[in-house]
Symmetry: C2
Subunit: 354 residues, 2 copies
């Protein structure tokens, strides 16, 4: 049995393992497979329109009648900054030329933050869980979600952020440690301060908030799951581990890179999206390392780099793909997501039950 069952009733699941909502890599098939195996499957909807989000949720709900989680990014609208736009053009146009992609696209925001239209989709489709990254939307939105019985989660990268989220009404806090792949959820601490490893972060957040804590970062198999529970977590949210499952929308070149990578191969970069995120180092990350701070803000860069990322995938080259990955990727396995979840459960319970 799980040593901490606080999340099971709250989320309506059998096993306190949440497949992380990795925008761009999740699919209805992935989320449904995890939920059907007793965990919590997630859809990363950060870069989807309300219409597309509704379609993805509906597809997932057709494939499972269990709880699912839908994730959004929340952030201030980026500033339009001519100097930063020019820096992007200066740094990226040569890559566009290399791939015969013509002119770099103009810098215009195109992602969909969590707005009233998205709220309507949530209130209509009512996924069991809605989670946020980079903080929380306006208080009345959090309230409206909770009023219809939706469980609200968000990520903290420091104790300070966990306390802000608890005060903001979340039902549980995701403690995102330094090891985690993809975007750092940091929203209130400085990026220099918010580099706390999972081993240190989880118990300090457990001590600071009176809510269930979900550990994320560096957790890829039963050993990491059992470790998280020892630290006082009520659940875990592995992400990278699911990227090499059959159901994930991970391009072949990205899968190959993950399965060959080593613990020391990740770097933080803001060159892909405008916000720091952890991925496998590649040509783009290396070449942008020195001047990345000059680039436009999140999520402007995400739009700018989209054609390059796509062309790189199509060329079968990892050079310009955002190979988001946590630091424990060498523990990754292939296979299907439901089987992976079952293995994680077996392995961790075997450790915890001696």
């Amino acid at each position: 049995m799980w040593p901490n069952t606080a999340l099971l009733d709250l989320l309506g699941i059998n096993h306190p393992i949440i497949q992380a909502p990795m925008a761009g890599a999740t699919t209805p098939a992935l989320a449904a497979a995890v939920s059907n195996a007793g965990g919590l499957g997630s859809l990363g909807c950060a870069f989807m329109s309300p219409e597309r989000t509704g379609e993805e949720i509906a597809k997932t709900m057709m494939a499972t009648n269990r709880s699912i989680n839908v994730n959004f990014f929340v952030h201030e609208p980026p500033k339009d900054d001519a100097e930063r736009n020019a820096a992007a053009k200066d740094q990226l146009q040569p890559y566009f030329d290399e791939y015969n992609l013509g002119d770099m696209p103009d810098v215009v925001p195109t992602n969909f933050p969590f707005d009233e239209a998205m709220m309507e989709v949530m209130l209509e489709l009512r996924p069991r869980v809605v989670s946020f990254h980079f903080g929380l939307p306006a208080g009345h939105m959090v309230e409206a979600l909770k009023q219809v019985g939706i469980v609200v989660l968000s990520s903290a990268t420091t104790v300070r952020e966990a306390i802000i989220l608890a005060d903001g009404g979340v039902d549980a806090v995701i403690a995102q440690g330094w090891e985690a792949g993809g975007h750092r959820g940091t929203f209130a601490s400085t990026m220099d301060a918010a580099r706390v490893g999972t081993m240190a972060l989880v118990p300090q957040i457990v001590d600071a908030v009176n809510l269930p804590v979900i550990a994320a970062g560096g957790i890829a198999d039963g050993r990491g799951i059992a470790a998280a529970f020892a630290l006082g977590a009520a659940g875990v949210q592995p992400g990278t581990a699911f990227l090499t499952t059959e159901e994930a929308a991970t391009p072949a070149v990205y899968r190959k890179a993950l399965l060959e990578a080593k613990d020391e191969d990740t770097r933080l970069t803001r060159a892909f999206s405008g916000r720091p995120a952890r991925g496998l180092s590649n040509r783009y990350i290396e070449e942008m390392a020195e001047r990345q701070d000059e680039l436009p803000e999140f999520p402007l860069m995400n739009t700018v780099t989209a054609p390059l990322r796509k062309a790189s995938v199509e060329a079968g080259s990892p050079d310009f793909v955002a190979l988001w990955s946590g630091q424990a990727m060498s523990l990754n396995r292939s296979g299907n997501a439901g089987e992976l979840l079952e293995k994680m459960v077996e392995e961790s319970l075997a450790i915890m039950n001696g």
Copy 2:
């Protein structure tokens, strides 16, 4: 019972908890208290002469007949670099003036690497364990230590380094995660690569080497210890947790800072010693952040900053003290070291034995 007992016979201890050898903060009383409580007490002898090292070991052996660990730094001799020396003068002289310390001392190496004279002390006094930081000394020295029955340990910050240490003949590998306080043990990977959190590092090293693995970084109470064993470690090496015990040589201003600090308060700096080390941010770390890369190599800076660090302690100010700390310092407790070790044992066994 401990789920992994590989270290107990190897090190001659009852509990697989090693008090980290923190140069400058350890004392014979601290090491003896930990060893007498069944753990492995350590002396950090990195900046001591062979004579002083012998005296410290003798004092510790008078206070305990249990195993003890003696730790050394190993590193290439630093280059004498006029430009770097000038940068140090330029950046630090104002601080020397502020404390009325006269001229900044000339940049001359004064620490004692692990040489033949130190070997003689080891072979004469024969501590049960000798551990190294920044790699290993020459192969014939490792051999000579092992031939008289001394157990040899060293720290790895990546899987690559763990494999090098295993090939170099260590009896167990210390996996030093990103969270750890004090000097990063990195010796073969780049500093940018060697930022792997404990949660990710430990299982990947466990899978890569056929030796007991000792987890370090972010471990401060029974939760962290139980988590490390879940990850596959055979032991743990907490450091910061012992800095606020009565027996540690931690100045009052440093103790106060540790007991008030929060998870997000540490930074890496090379401005104190010349090598990156994790400590609580203070005025010196902040003001040196931008230009620290210009400073002389390790351990030259350690000598240069010594008068400043001393004066700051004497003035009761944290501004120029090297407040080495890991990221879990808010879990620190006061009291004596033997009691802390007993609490750690009780807490972790309670978690692991359900």
